[in-house]
C-alpha cells in the first residue's frame, strides 16, 4: 500500500461534512478457482459525503499510484437503479442501511474508527469472477425461461383496449421495481432466489396481458430457478436486504401459482 497522499486530503478539505478514518478488510481473489483472502487497507480522512463506491475509488486510485492492481467491483449507474453494484458490507448485502444499494450508501452512515469488512456476494449460483465481482447470469436464465409476455413487435392492438385494474397495475409495479441485483440471494442462508423469481412472476401474472402464459411461465421459471439456487425456508432475510423493499408476499403468491400451475398445465394439455 502506498501511504497517505494528497488525494484524500484534497477531498477532505473540500468537503462540508466531517471526515472518518476507517480500516477496510477487502476480499481479493484472482479468479473463480483461485484462493481468495482479505487485504487490509487504511482509509484516513474519508469525507462523510462520499458514497461507499467512491471510497473504493479512492482506495483504487491509491493502489494504482503505488503500482498495484486495483480492486475490481461491479458498479454502473450509481443512482440505485441498474442493479450492477453488490457487495457484502460487514456481512450485510448492500450494507446495513435499509432500502439502499451500495452505491447510495454514504459514509456518514459509518463511525470514525470503524473496521469494515467487504466481500463479494456469496452464493454457489454467483461464482466469483474476480475480487468483488460475481457472475449473476443465472438470473438471466430464469428470465429466459419465461419472464416475458410473448408478443412480437407490431402484433398488438391499441393499448387502451386492455384495461388493467389500477390495484393490479400498482401491485404489479411494486414487484417490477426489482433491480436484479441479487442481494436477496446473497442474504439468504440457503442462497435461494425466490424473491427475485417471484417478483418477475408477480409483475407478469397479476395483469391481464400476462394471463395466457401464466401457468406455463410459472412452472418454467420456478423449475429453472431450482436448477441454480437453494430452497426457500422462509427466513425473510431476502426482503430485509432488498434495496427496493420487494415484499415477501410475492413469494407466497408464487408458491400458490406454482401449485396451481402444476395442475393447470396438465389440464391445458388434456391430461386430468
Amino acid at each position: 500500500m502506498s501511504g497517505a497522499n494528497g488525494v484524500t486530503s484534497q477531498a477532505s478539505q473540500q468537503s462540508h461534512g466531517g471526515t472518518l478514518s476507517l480500516t477496510l478488510r477487502i476480499w481479493r481473489q484472482d479468479g473463480p478457482d483461485a484462493p481468495g483472502r482479505f487485504h487490509t487497507f487504511d482509509a484516513p480522512n474519508i469525507s462523510e459525503d462520499m458514497s461507499f463506491l467512491e471510497l473504493l475509488d479512492i482506495i483504487n486510485e491509491r493502489l494504482i499510484e503505488g503500482g498495484d492492481v486495483p480492486i475490481e467491483f461491479d458498479h454502473d449507474c450509481r443512482e440505485g437503479i441498474c442493479g450492477m453494484c453488490s457487495l457484502m458490507i460487514n456481512g450485510r448485502a448492500h450494507g446495513h442501511e435499509l432500502a439502499t444499494t451500495t452505491c447510495q450508501l454514504h459514509m456518514r452512515k459509518f463511525t470514525d474508527g470503524d473496521v469494515i469488512t467487504v466481500e463479494p456476494f456469496r452464493a454457489k449460483a454467483f461464482p466469483v469472477v474476480r475480487d468483488l465481482v460475481v457472475d449473476r447470469s443465472s438470473f438471466d436464465r430464469i428470465i429466459e425461461a419465461g419472464g416475458y409476455i410473448s408478443v412480437n413487435t407490431g402484433a398488438v392492438g391499441d393499448a387502451n383496449q386492455t384495461p388493467v385494474p389500477k390495484q393490479a397495475a400498482d401491485t404489479s409495479m411494486d414487484a417490477a421495481a426489482c433491480i436484479g441485483c441479487g442481494a436477496c440471494v446473497a442474504a439468504c442462508p440457503n442462497s435461494a432466489a425466490q424473491l427475485f423469481t417471484s417478483a418477475k412472476l408477480a409483475h407478469l401474472n397479476l395483469i391481464p396481458q400476462g394471463q395466457p402464459q401464466r401457468w406455463e411461465r410459472t412452472e418454467a421459471m420456478v423449475e429453472t430457478m431450482e436448477q441454480f439456487f437453494g430452497s426457500c425456508t422462509n427466513h425473510g432475510e431476502c426482503t430485509e436486504a432488498c434495496p427496493k423493499e420487494i415484499s415477501l408476499d410475492f413469494i407466497a403468491f408464487m408458491n400458490r401459482d406454482y401449485v396451481k400451475a402444476k395442475i393447470k398445465n396438465r389440464k391445458l394439455t388434456g391430461q386430468s
Binding site: 488525494v7 477531498a11 473540500q14 468537503s15 462540508h16 461534512g17 479468479g31 469525507s47 462523510e48 459525503d49 462520499m50 475509488d57 486510485e61 494504482i64 499510484e65 503500482g67 492492481v69 486495483p70 475490481e72 461491479d74 458498479h75 454502473d76 449507474c77 450509481r78 443512482e79 437503479i81 441498474c82 450492477m84 439502499t100 469472477v129 474476480r130 465481482v133 457472475d135 447470469s137 438471466d140 429466459e144 416475458y148 409476455i149 408478443v151 412480437n152 413487435t153 402484433a155 398488438v156 392492438g157 393499448a159 387502451n160 384495461p163 388493467v164 385494474p165 389500477k166 397495475a169 400498482d170 404489479s172 409495479m173 417490477a176 421495481a177 436484479g180 407478469l204 395483469i207 396481458q209
Partner: protein, 651 residues
C-alpha cells in the same frame, strides 16, 4: 480517404444524401414503407445482423429483427442486457395518443419536437418519430410494462417538461427501467428461442469494413481478455451517448463513445458533436472525488422556487437570509414562465449567478430550490405525496432534509443530441453500418424535449430499423458474410490487440481516472453551458496537451488477460480525448446559439440564444481522415416545409 466507395447515401463524394422520401410530410413514412424492398420471410434467416448495445434501442432492435427471422448476435459490456443506462430514465415517454382529449396529435408532437430542437432537426425523421410513438405505447403495454393507470384501468398521462398537452406515459419514477425491462424481456424470449446469440461482458472495440462496407466487429471479452472478430451482413450500433466526456454527468459510469468513435474512425461521419444537453436540477458535487451527478426530476420546479443570496459569498444559512436579500432570479427575469423556463435557460441562468459568486453550499456551487412556500401553503403531507421519493433521495445523498432546508441544485450534463450521422434509413455513411438511439444524431436537433429520449430509442429499434434494414439487405440476397478468414478481420484484430497492449506498456504514473477528471474540467469549462470563441480555442490547445500527457504518463496496472477495468477505461478515455477536440471544433464553427449550444457572442440583447438560420440551418457531419489531421466538415442542409422558423421566447 483511402477507399473510393460510394454508399447509398452518397457519402464518399462529400454530398450527404439523407434519403428522405418525396411526398407530403404526413405520407412520407407510409409511402416509403410500401416502396421499400422486402426480404421474404424464408430468406431473412440467411442474413446475419450484429447489434451492439442492449439499451432501449439495441434490445428492441435485436428482439424485433430476430422476430422477423434475421439471425442476430447482440453484444453488451454489462453482465446482463438489463443494466443498460436507459434503465435510469425517470420521467416518462411521450406519445401522441391524445387519450386525454386535450388536442394532441401526431402533427402537434412533430411540431413541438422540431421547435423544441430549435429548428436543427430533420423534419421527416421527426414526423416519423411522432407517428410511431403511437405504436410504442401499444407494444409496451402489451409486453406488460406496468404503466400508471386511471381508476377505470386505462392509461394515465401527465404533462411534462413544459408541454401544453398531457402526452407523457409513465411508470412511477422508473419509466426507463420498466421500458428497458420490457425490451430486455422481449430479447430474453428470442434468446430462449435460439434466434439471438447474446454476448455479455463483451465490448466492441472496432468496426470492420471490406471494400467500404461494414462486415463485422472486433470485440474484447472483458473476463478472459480474448480479442475476437464477428462477421455479419450488417452492424447496428446502439451504444448510447457521450455525456461522460465531461467526467461528471448523470450518465452511468461505463457510458462511453468508443463503439461510435471507432466507427467514426472507419468512415462514419460524426454529426453535431457540440449539441449536448444540460439538465438544470441535479445535486451539486460535494467534493473533488465525486464520481457522478444525480439528477432530480424536473417536476420539482413546478413547486420549488429558485433563488440565491443577493450578496456575493454570503455564508449565512438560508433561513437567516431575509426575503429582501434574496434574488429569485428566474421569476425576476422571466415573469411569465418563472421557474418553469426550459432546461437550457434555467441552466444558463444558474451558471451566471454562480459565476457571479452568489452560489450556495460549502463549495458555492449551487442555487437554492426552496419548497418552504408550498409546504406552508399545502402542508407537508401534500408535498410528501407529490415529491416524497425525490426528497428521500436528496436526503440520502446530501444528508440534508429538504423539508427544512432548501435543496441545492446545479446543472449537469444529461444527454447528447449529437452522434453518428444517419440517413432516413438510420444508416451511417459506412454502408451496412446503422446507428440507433442516443448514439445517432437524428430527431432531437439542438435540444431534446423531456420524455423524448425513451420514445426515440424505442421508435428506432421497434419500428424503424426493422423496416429500413430490409430495404438495404434485399439487394444483397445470396451474398455470404465475409468469412472470418478474410485478411480484413486479421488486420483489425491485430490492430485492437496492439492498441490494448499499448495502454498496458506506457508505464507512467497517473491513473485513467485522473486524466478523465482533468479532461472533464476542460470540456465543462469551455464546451459546457456557455461557449466562446476564445474558450474553444483554449480547449483546442489544452486538450491535445493533456492528451499527449495521457499517452506518456498513463499507468494501467494488471494485464490484458483478465478483468481489468482500468484497461477498459483507458480505451474509452482515449476516445473521449479525440471526441472532445471534435466537440470544440464543431462548436467553434457553429457561429450561432441554438438549443444546447450557446455561444456567448450570439445572444439577443436580453441574453437569449440567437440562431443564425441563414448560415447554420444545417447539420454538420465530420469525416475522419487520420489522427494527425482534423476532420472535414460536411453539411446537410435542413429544409423546413411544415414548421415555420421562429425565435423561442419565454419572457
Amino acid at each position: 480517404m483511402a477507399e473510393s466507395h460510394s454508399g447509398p447515401n452518397g457519402a464518399s463524394n462529400g454530398m450527404l444524401d439523407s434519403r428522405v422520401p418525396d411526398g407530403p410530410m404526413a405520407d412520407k413514412w407510409t409511402d416509403h414503407k410500401f416502396s421499400m424492398k422486402l426480404v421474404n420471410p424464408n430468406n431473412k434467416r440467411r442474413f446475419e445482423i450484429i447489434v451492439v448495445g442492449t439499451g432501449l434501442a439495441g434490445a428492441s432492435a435485436a428482439a424485433s429483427l430476430s422476430e422477423l427471422g434475421y439471425r442476430v448476435k447482440v453484444f453488451t459490456f454489462h453482465d446482463s442486457p438489463r443494466r443498460a443506462h436507459s434503465i435510469a430514465a425517470q420521467g416518462g415517454i411521450n406519445a401522441a395518443k391524445n387519450y386525454t382529449n386535450d388536442g394532441d396529435s401526431v402533427h402537434r408532437l412533430f411540431y413541438d419536437t422540431v421547435k423544441g430542437g430549435d429548428y436543427r432537426s430533420r423534419e421527416a425523421n421527426v414526423h416519423r418519430l411522432a407517428e410511431v410513438s403511437l405504436n410504442i405505447i401499444d407494444q409496451c403495454a402489451a409486453q406488460g410494462v406496468p404503466f400508471a393507470r386511471e381508476y377505470g384501468g386505462l392509461l394515465d398521462n401527465r404533462s411534462f417538461g413544459g408541454a401544453q398537452v398531457s402526452r407523457t406515459f409513465y411508470a412511477r419514477g422508473q419509466t426507463g427501467q420498466q421500458l428497458l425491462l420490457g425490451a430486455y424481456q422481449a430479447l430474453a424470449k428470442q434468446v430462449a428461442a435460439g434466434s439471438v446469440e447474446l454476448y455479455t461482458r463483451t465490448e466492441m472495440l472496432d468496426l470492420v469494413t471490406k471494400d467500404g462496407r461494414a462486415c463485422g466487429i472486433v470485440t474484447r471479452d472483458l473476463i478472459s481478455g480474448e480479442i475476437a472478430a464477428h462477421t455479419g451482413h450488417a452492424v447496428v450500433l446502439a451504444t448510447g451517448g457521450y455525456g461522460n466526456v465531461y467526467y461528471l454527468s448523470t450518465n452511468a459510469m461505463a457510458c462511453n463513445v468508443t463503439a461510435a468513435w471507432r466507427a467514426h474512425r472507419r468512415g462514419a461521419y460524426f454529426a453535431n458533436a457540440c449539441y449536448t444537453q444540460i439538465h438544470p436540477t441535479c445535486i451539486p458535487a460535494s467534493d473533488e472525488f465525486q464520481s457522478k451527478l444525480t439528477l432530480m426530476s424536473e417536476s420539482l420546479r413546478n413547486d420549488g422556487r429558485i433563488w440565491v443570496p443577493e450578496a456575493m459569498d454570503d455564508a449565512r444559512s438560508p433561513d437567516r437570509i431575509p426575503e429582501s436579500e434574496r434574488d429569485y432570479y428566474l421569476e425576476r427575469k422571466y415573469p411569465a414562465f418563472g421557474n418553469l423556463v426550459p432546461r437550457d435557460v434555467a441552466s444558463r441562468n444558474a451558471k451566471t449567478v454562480v459565476d457571479q459568486g452568489k452560489g450556495v453550499g460549502p463549495l458555492r456551487n449551487g442555487v437554492y430550490l426552496d419548497f418552504s412556500e408550498v409546504i406552508e401553503r399545502d402542508g407537508r403531507t401534500a408535498v410528501a405525496a407529490k415529491y416524497g421519493n425525490l426528497f428521500d433521495m436528496y436526503e440520502r445523498i446530501t444528508g440534508e432534509n429538504p423539508y427544512a432546508v432548501p435543496m441545492r441544485i446545479y446543472p449537469a450534463i444529461h444527454y447528447t443530441m449529437g452522434g453518428l450521422w444517419v440517413d432516413y434509413h438510420l444508416m451511417t455513411t459506412v454502408p451496412g453500418c446503422y446507428s440507433v438511439g442516443e448514439a445517432n444524431f437524428s430527431d432531437h436537433g439542438a435540444n431534446r424535449l423531456g420524455a423524448s429520449a425513451l420514445m426515440q430509442g424505442l421508435a428506432d429499434g421497434y419500428f424503424v430499423l426493422p423496416y429500413t434494414i430490409g430495404d438495404d439487405l434485399a439487394a444483397r440476397l445470396g451474398e455470404p458474410v465475409v468469412p472470418l478468414s478474410d485478411p480484413v478481420f486479421a488486420q483489425a484484430t491485430s490492430e485492437v490487440t496492439d492498441a490494448t497492449q499499448r495502454f498496458l506498456s506506457i508505464g507512467g504514473t497517473r491513473s485513467v481516472d485522473w486524466f478523465h477528471r482533468e479532461l472533464g474540467k476542460i470540456v465543462w469549462d469551455y464546451i459546457g453551458m456557455e461557449r466562446t470563441s476564445a474558450g474553444l480555442e483554449k480547449a483546442l490547445s489544452e486538450i491535445p496537451a493533456l492528451e499527449a500527457e495521457f499517452w506518456a504518463d498513463l499507468r494501467v496496472p494488471g494485464s490484458g488477460a483478465n478483468l481489468n477495468s482500468s484497461l477498459e477505461k483507458a480505451g474509452r478515455v482515449a476516445d473521449f480525448f479525440e471526441l472532445a477536440k471534435l466537440m470544440a471544433r464543431d462548436a467553434l464553427v457553429r457561429e450561432e446559439s441554438c438549443g444546447g449550444h450557446f455561444r456567448a457572442e450570439h445572444q439577443t440583447p436580453e441574453g437569449e440564444a440567437q440562431r443564425d438560420d441563414e448560415n447554420f440551418a444545417h447539420v454538420a457531419a465530420w469525416e475522419w481522415h487520420s489522427s494527425d489531421t482534423t476532420q472535414t466538415r460536411h453539411v446537410e442542409e435542413l429544409e423546413f416545409e411544415e414548421v415555420a422558423l421562429t425565435q423561442r421566447s419565454y419572457k
